[in-house]
């Protein structure tokens, strides 16, 4: 399996993980059967994502895309975050092996789910 340098960097030095105790929205996506589960936590203030974290059970690509996606939404407002595509995440990681593209999709879905959760609680 050959990952880009960027993927390995994000995988190894991943920082954005852990539970966000006072999260305003949580997106739980994925299925342990398939080997990938991603929980995205967001904290929102004035329509802006002021903090975000993830918890991920999954492979290198799943962890790296989680971490990258968090980096990409932190500080953004919700609408911007909703426009984040899996493609953008994969590109930011200098690409993913074809069989791993579904991981970036998971990150996109996780963020959307977290925002929805936030909206539904509002």
């Amino acid at each position: 399996m050959l990952y880009s340098k960027k993927v390995m960097e994000y995988f190894q030095n991943t920082k954005n993980y852990g539970k966000l105790e006072d999260a305003d929205g949580i997106g739980k996506v994925g299925n342990p059967r398939c080997g990938d589960v991603m929980w995205i936590y967001i904290k929102v203030k004035d329509n802006k994502i002021i903090d975000a974290k993830y918890e991920t059970f999954g492979c290198v690509a799943a962890i790296a895309t989680s971490s990258m996606a968090i980096d990409m939404i932190k500080g953004k407002n919700i609408d911007e975050a909703l426009r984040l595509t899996n493609k953008a995440v994969a590109e930011a990681l200098d690409g993913l092996p074809p069989e791993k593209l579904h991981c970036s999709l998971l990150a996109e879905k996780g963020i959307k789910a977290a925002i929805e959760d936030y909206k539904s609680k509002k």
């Binding site: 918890e55 059970f57 492979c59 690509a61």
Partner: protein, 388 residues
Amino acid sequence: MNLKYYFDYNSTTPTDPRVVKEIIPYFGTKFFNPSSFYRKAGEISIDIENSRERVAKLLNAEPNEIFFTSGGTESNNLAIFGITLKLKEKGNHIITSKIEHSAVLNTCKYLSKKGFEVTYLPVDKYGLVNPDDLKKEIKDTTILVTIMHANNEIGTIQPVKELSEIAHKRGILFHTDAVQSAGKMKVDVKELDIDMLSISSHKIYGPKGMGVLFKKKRVKINPMIFGGAHEKGLRAGTENVPGIIGIGKAAELAILEMDENEKRLKPIRDKIEKGIIETIPDVIINGNTDKRLYNTLNVSIRYIEGESILAFLDNQGFALSSGSACSSKSLEPSHVLLALGLKHEEAHGSLRISLGKYNKKEDADKLLEVLPPIVEKLRSMSPFWKKK
């Protein structure tokens, strides 16, 4: 060779330098085609026969029961296609197990699309086939039972002698995939009463691209690759002479070193097993700890996924494998682990540690040092771990 942290011997082995040394001349001064007329070519065919004898010795077989192929996969295919094509007038039923290597499973799957009926015997939670299940599944149309000797992922060793006896009582041929057992432990085709058996060179410190099918003389099978009259007409193609010489030398070394390897490696494997259980909570040891290859350890580390563990280990120079879907190219995790009854997520979180003759005790100690913090870090990222 920089094998310090290589723990993936069930995947492949380096070619023993003594084997390489014996191979080299066959690229150069001894490059002749053994089928040619001149004396120097005739000498090559003698060398081939010597190699056949060495392999025969490893299996306690007769030299004329040894056929060279391009690998374990081809040997399995040849055994299964060879019999089914030969006996298809007699019956169309094959019995195998759920935990076979893909070289057997996918061959059977293909045959089942071509009008054959295949029964996949289940295994218990340690990976053992129940001989009674075999008894029950045999019917009048059964023409072949193929059940592996030792499993590549969990190391579980099947009672092949008992299984082949059951098949033989009903007049059915028995093949076993001994790719993982041969060279590691005694495999005696006479004692086990096996009709056909597959081995692979690159699993026993021989070169890649070489395998052997043992086939009892009275067992007649169809060839699969047609052309010249090589290998007594069973396998056409100019002989891979370096490969043949290589597997012969590898077999000879295996006979000499097998016991010593077992004596040295079993305690190392056991130590790793014990160390993991003691330092990492929530692990499952997969396989049958009584009837298991002495070099193999398979463990599921719950709440995390195998590829991630492999990646962190790889960064520190350790080579292992996992039954996770992510570390292979399929989407499903190991069919072997699932057959044991593991949940998908437990199979995804499995590690296989398989030792070989270049492993040292110190390397194992190092692995035990490195693994727990990796597991801890990954668990700290996992949504499942803290939820317990």
